[in-house]
């Protein structure tokens, strides 16, 4: 059906997310203070960065490092793409 739906989604989520994050960061900067644990919690916007960066690290670890190493083709008999249009 609509094969280009994904771009619409991405755009929407991006815009909404950006606004949300901006508000969130502002509030956090103003209100939040009960940090504990590692020194990094004192870094502003740390959580946002960590969410992005952490996901990137995991993505890279999985897709770039482990994927080529560990991915093997499925049994040829079990391919299924395009079976049901």
């Amino acid at each position: 059906m609509n094969r280009h739906a994904s771009s619409w989604w991405i755009r929407g989520v991006f815009v909404t997310g950006l606004i949300f994050v901006a508000l969130l960061e502002a509030a956090a900067f103003l209100i939040a203070h009960e940090h504990h644990g590692g020194f990094w919690n004192a870094i502003p916007m740390w959580d946002l960065v960590f969410g992005f960066g952490g996901a990137a690290v995991l993505y890279l670890a999985a897709k770039r490092a482990l994927g080529p190493l560990l991915s093997r083709p499925e049994a040829p008999m079990r391919r299924s793409r395009g079976g049901r249009a």
């Binding site: 059906m1 609509n2 094969r3 739906a5 994904s6 989604w9 991405i10 989520v13 991006f14 997310g17 949300f20 994050v21 969130l24 960061e25 509030a27 956090a28 209100i31 939040a32 203070h33 009960e34 940090h35 504990h36 644990g37 590692g38 020194f39 990094w40 916007m45 959580d47 946002l48 960065v49 960590f50 969410g51 992005f52 960066g53 952490g54 996901a55 990137a56 690290v57 995991l58 993505y59 670890a61 999985a62 897709k63 482990l66 994927g67 560990l70 991915s71 093997r72 083709p73 499925e74 391919r79 299924s80 793409r81 079976g83 049901r84 249009a85």
Partner: protein, 572 residues
């Protein structure tokens, strides 16, 4: 305490096991009835808050504490009962009676395991779970499910064997018969820990899970997702609170699971990796050993059972509706199964730790406990795992399965029991998320923890949003490939299996040799003697005497003996 069988009245597991046996033994239509009755009865006694009593009974000369209703076991009993009921509803039309029977017995055994007060009872139902869940996997009905079930069974048999030896060593060393925290770190400690680690799917002992769970039927995997690993978490909480070795193991689990989940294509296999990951939190919590951490582990197990069941139901609904089980075959079906999509998303946000959902209130207990225990790296890595969880379960899976490019997969209408079960599960995830004290007050450890601080909310949300940014940045690269990821199960599906079957074959290969040797001994003597005797024992020839002849030899020997003896005696 005099042994009695009265406990059977109070034992929710007994109802489920009895119901399962009934369902298995009698014609098909009986399973639903027995399911309702057994689950209902179990639920009644759970709702009556389970008497905090011990019941013992004597079986086979073992005086067993069949039932020990303290707070920890009650917590798990409650959630097990709930999820058993949900699973029965979910599988109402899908399950055939054998499957229902296996599922009920499986659930009953899990409940009985956590209620077991002594090691023998514990072992009994631990093994019972393994058998019943194997049957459940086998009832998936495909060749893959049968093979995976066999591997699963063997893996658990090894685990059970370790547990058996560990218990024997523990008892022989004078340890108490009650299941309690082990003191000392001798062989029993490590044996039992390894056995529990098998069930808890701690890498590298985890691959049975991702191998077998996707191969069960859709309803079967809902049951599977709930009991075995969480019983192991219970066992860790009971037996190994504060065992420091668990912290690194747990952290490894959390990350291992998410990394593999990012690579995974099969829906339920992906979710299976997330069981590994989530149980990692609990393992870490047990290892941290502070009351908050232990409470967090217990609470997270509780939450996890609910949302993971919901996720497996969602995945199952997807598979049932479309017939496909891999992300690369799916996409864009949300319009045709909106409710199911929504409920799946509830599960996804729960597991990802979104505020207002139950994962948030329990996972944060463990992370906070790590922080309070001044284990910042633990905290950091657990947070990293949370990021990965959201990335794969919260974003990748729904994106490629429900949203994303619509591949026009036909979706058939599902019977209403499926949305009902998912609805209840989703509601529970949400309810505990907004009313965390409902969960906290059941915990065996007194905790004073407020999840909904602004700081906590804001950091969680930032984290999730940050992850979301990355996801949409690399979404095309995340497109699941039609590939299979090698995991440690390669070891025993490949070399180890080969080694065992080679050993068997080698021994079998000895058989012809042994048989040949036997034949040589039995008939070879025969044939050899015949050959040897061919001349000597031949029938009489009408010719005159000669030395080839037996009479000739006789006379020769007689004469020779006489001569020799005479010579000897003459000398003497």
């Amino acid at each position: 305490m005099t042994p009695s069988w009265e406990f059977l009245i109070y034992h929710p597991g007994a109802y489920l096991i009895a119901g399962g046996l009934w369902a298995g033994l009698f014609p098909s239509y009986a399973w639903a009835t027995s399911g309702v009755f057994s689950f209902g009865a179990a639920a009644v006694f759970v709702l009556r808050r389970l008497p905090n009593l011990d019941f013992t009974a004597s079986v086979a000369d073992f005086h067993l504490i069949w039932y020990r209703g303290d707070a920890l076991s009650v917590l798990f009993t409650v959630v097990f009962t709930v999820v058993a009921g949900l699973g029965l509803i979910y599988g109402w039309y899908r399950m055939r009676r054998g499957e229902a029977a296996a599922a009920m017995i499986y659930a009953g055994c899990a409940i009985a395991t956590v209620l077991a007060g002594d090691w023998v009872t514990f072992f009994v139902f631990w093994e019972g779970m393994a058998i019943a869940s194997t049957a459940l996997i086998w009832l998936g009905g495909t060749e893959q499910s049968r093979r995976a079930g066999m591997r699963y069974l063997l893996f658990h048999a090894v685990g059970g064997a370790l547990l058996f030896v560990g218990i024997l060593l523990h008892l022989a060393g004078g340890g108490p018969i009650e299941v309690a925290a082990l003191t000392g770190t001798g062989p029993p400690f490590w044996l039992i820990l390894t056995a529990v680690a098998v069930n808890a799917a701690i890498p590298p002992l985890h691959a049975w899970l991702t191998d077998a769970y996707p191969e069960a039927s859709t309803a079967g995997s809902v049951f599977l997702s709930a009991f075995t690993t969480k019983t192991a978490v219970y066992a860790l909480l009971r037996i190994f609170p504060g065992a420091e070795v668990l912290v690194p193991l747990g952290i490894v689990m959390t990350l291992y699971g998410v990394v593999f989940a990012i690579l995974e294509n099969d829906v339920r296999r992906l979710l299976g990796y997330h069981i590994v990951s989530q149980v990692g939190y609990m393992v870490t919590g047990v290892g941290l050993g502070t009351p908050l951490a232990l409470a967090g582990a217990a609470a997270h197990a509780y939450s996890h059972i609910l949302y993971k069941a919901l996720l497996f139901m969602g995945a199952g609904a997807l598979i049932e509706a479309t017939g496909f089980r891999r992300l690369s075959d799916l996409g864009g079906v949300w319009r045709r199964m909106r409710f199911m999509t929504a409920m799946y998303l509830v599960g996804a946000v729960s597991i990802s730790g979104w505020p207002l959902f139950n994962g948030f209130v329990s996972k944060s207990l463990i992370v906070s406990a790590a922080a309070e225990a001044h284990a910042p790296w633990t905290e950091l890595l657990l947070t990293l795992a949370a990021v990965g969880t959201f990335l794969s379960v919260g974003l990748k899976l729904p994106w490629f399965a429900f949203f994303g490019a619509d591949r026009g997969v036909a979706v058939r209408k599902l019977p209403s029991n499926i949305p009902i079960a998912m609805g209840i599960a989703g509601f529970l995830c949400f309810a505990y998320g907004v009313l965390p004290f409902m969960l906290y007050r059941m915990l065996p450890w007194e905790i004073d923890y407020r999840p909904f601080t602004f700081d906590h909310l804001s950091s969680s949300l930032q984290l999730l949003v940050g992850t979301g940014f990355l996801f949409f940045l690399v979404v095309r690269k995340l497109t699941p490939a039609e590939k299979r990821t090698l995991d440690v199960d390669w070891l025993w599906r490949g070399p180890l299996r080969g080694a065992v079957s080679d050993a068997g074959r080698a021994l079998r290969g000895l058989a012809p040799a042994a048989q040949e040797a036997r034949r040589w001994v039995v008939t070879g003597i025969d044939a050899g003697l015949r050959r040897a005797a061919a001349g000597r024992a031949a029938p009489v020839a009408p010719a005159a005497l000669n030395f080839r002849d037996s009479i000739g030899w006789t006379i020769f020997f007689a004469a020779a003996a006489a001569a020799i003896l005479l010579v000897i005696l003459d000398r003497a």
